[in-house]
Symmetry: C2
Subunit: 129 residues, 2 copies
Amino acid sequence: MKREKIKTTPRCQRSNCPVACTLDLLGDKWTLLVIRDLFMGKHTFKAFQESPENIPSNVLAERLKRLENEQILQRKLYQERPPRYSYHLTDKGRDLGPVLQAMLMWGNTHVPGTMSKEDIDKLIQGAHG
Amino acid sequence: MKREKIKTTPRCQRSNCPVACTLDLLGDKWTLLVIRDLFMGKHTFKAFQESPENIPSNVLAERLKRLENEQILQRKLYQERPPRYSYHLTDKGRDLGPVLQAMLMWGNTHVPGTMSKEDIDKLIQGAHG
DNA sequence: CCGGATCCGGTCTGATACTG
DNA sequence: CAGTATCAGACCGGATCCGG
């Protein structure tokens, strides 16, 4: 299982603007949702899949690999046989908290999103073990 | 020129999570770059095109329409013949400042982005007439 | 059953060319 | 200058398969 090579992971693809560079890494419909789930305390492939947005398994697998490559998350073997992995934010990944929080605020203000306050607080607080 | 109908602009497509809703609107490689440019004081189609990321003209046109539909920006006729429009953030659009700022911070910290400090400050300050 | 990998049709993106 | 038309190719997402 070659976890080394992903198709596209050059550093700054389009310009030297930090916003553009960030968008090159996270600028799609799914990546930040995986990160949201990590902040929410989800750690397994299955948990990510069970989020209400129903991410396809191949997309999820690819995103996890990419985020691992970028050292935004770490993958840990937590069970030998059968092999089971859990995914955890690195410091670099945890630094995305403000991005997520800003999006949460904006969505909450400008879209009739109905996420519960508890979940929001849970998300804002951040991650853990 | 029918500026009313865009293909996909339902409100919350995938879930009621504010983050997911926000990503449904802005979660692609280009939209937030247009917003960044607006914050940087750019207002015309040409100015957006001249950004170093080289957004294709059709993508730019589609994004501008969508953002206008979502009332994130406003389009103003500033010249009669030939008709010329300028684009400006609404309050809703200006509220995206923190999202942009958070991405800017993260990119600046974790990617060797080399945008000048002046431009960053300019961006952070926000928009204007 | 879980964590993916593979296949595959359809959609969307983006480079280029074109128009008013 | 401000877009629209076109179109090949990339990508998404659903289904299915498979190793442990």
